[in-house]
Symmetry: C2
Subunit: 174 residues, 2 copies
């Protein structure tokens, strides 16, 4: 499946609604537990997605379009949400994610990118040269894999209740 | 996290809406591709979830409550949906899943199960003796891990566009 702006937008536009439908109103036991030290709870993931909207995807795309390989992306602080989400409710975070994503989507749709724009390159601090197409595809995959993570983390909370069933759920040992 | 009927219902009630929010109106490229031979596309997963509602979770719970260890569960046909979903649209499947899940939830909520009901046992054709608590917990975990699967399968469709980024996404090689 080749990258297309239209098909990417199908996913990016809906991720906040997916997160809200999945998490809104759940007990803290479902949303505040994680998979162990330095792993994310569903609550942490929403903060992480907000941080990405504010500091990463749009900022990096702008850097590629304006500066190409002459500037290096600012590294993503994967743990910024531990501080930024502090004191906020999940409901507040879900609303904030929807708002910042919407702002980025309005900007992204206004770009009307061409195939040659997608070939433009920038410098990732660890991965080196990447294209705008790589970056924008990763934005989509990052959404999808974090939804996968949220549901996997939630599923793991019930492992002790499953009796002999975990052998049918390879994903629980991921 | 111990099994509780109320917390299980929080998940089971919303899974059809989560699937609809996640998949409704997407391009076929997102919903009809899978991870390789004998794996499920998102379209297949919805058919599989419908089959579970019609033949597995409620039927097995009733068997435990009525017959205990004197009957063995009917094996789940993991590939039944290849035939049953044939000719249907994803939109039809999503509506059907919502309908059959709602029926089962109405029944499930009417049971008013006690802790001693949850300790009752039945016989799984491969796993042997399981409790009603095991079965009902697996119903929840099955929902969550299939949402994880759907989003992982979708994410994998974009692997070729990511340039060097897959090394940050361990889940893409699951």
């Amino acid at each position: 499946m080749k990258y297309s702006v239209a098909q990417a937008i199908e996913i990016l536009d809906r991720t906040p609604s997916v997160c809200t439908t999945l998490l809104s109103g759940l007990s803290d036991d479902w949303v505040m537990n994680n998979e162990g030290p330095e792993t994310f709870s569903p609550f942490d993931v929403i903060g992480h997605l907000i941080h990405g909207e504010k500091t990463d995807w749009a900022a990096r795309a702008k850097m590629i379009l304006e500066f190409g390989n002459t500037k290096t992306f600012v590294p993503w602080d994967r743990f910024a949400q531990y501080e930024e989400s502090n004191g906020k409710s999940l409901s507040q975070l879900l609303d904030e994610f929807a708002r910042v994503r919407k702002e980025n989507m309005d900007w992204f749709k206004s770009l009307r990118l061409t195939e040659s724009d997608l070939d433009k390159t920038g410098i990732h601090p660890k991965l080196g040269e990447v294209t705008l197409r790589n970056l924008l595809s990763t934005w989509v995959v990052h959404d999808l894999t974090h939804i996968a993570q949220i549901t996997r983390v939630m599923a793991k909370q019930y492992t002790e209740n499953l009796g002999p069933w975990p052998e049918f759920f390879r994903i629980l040992s991921f």
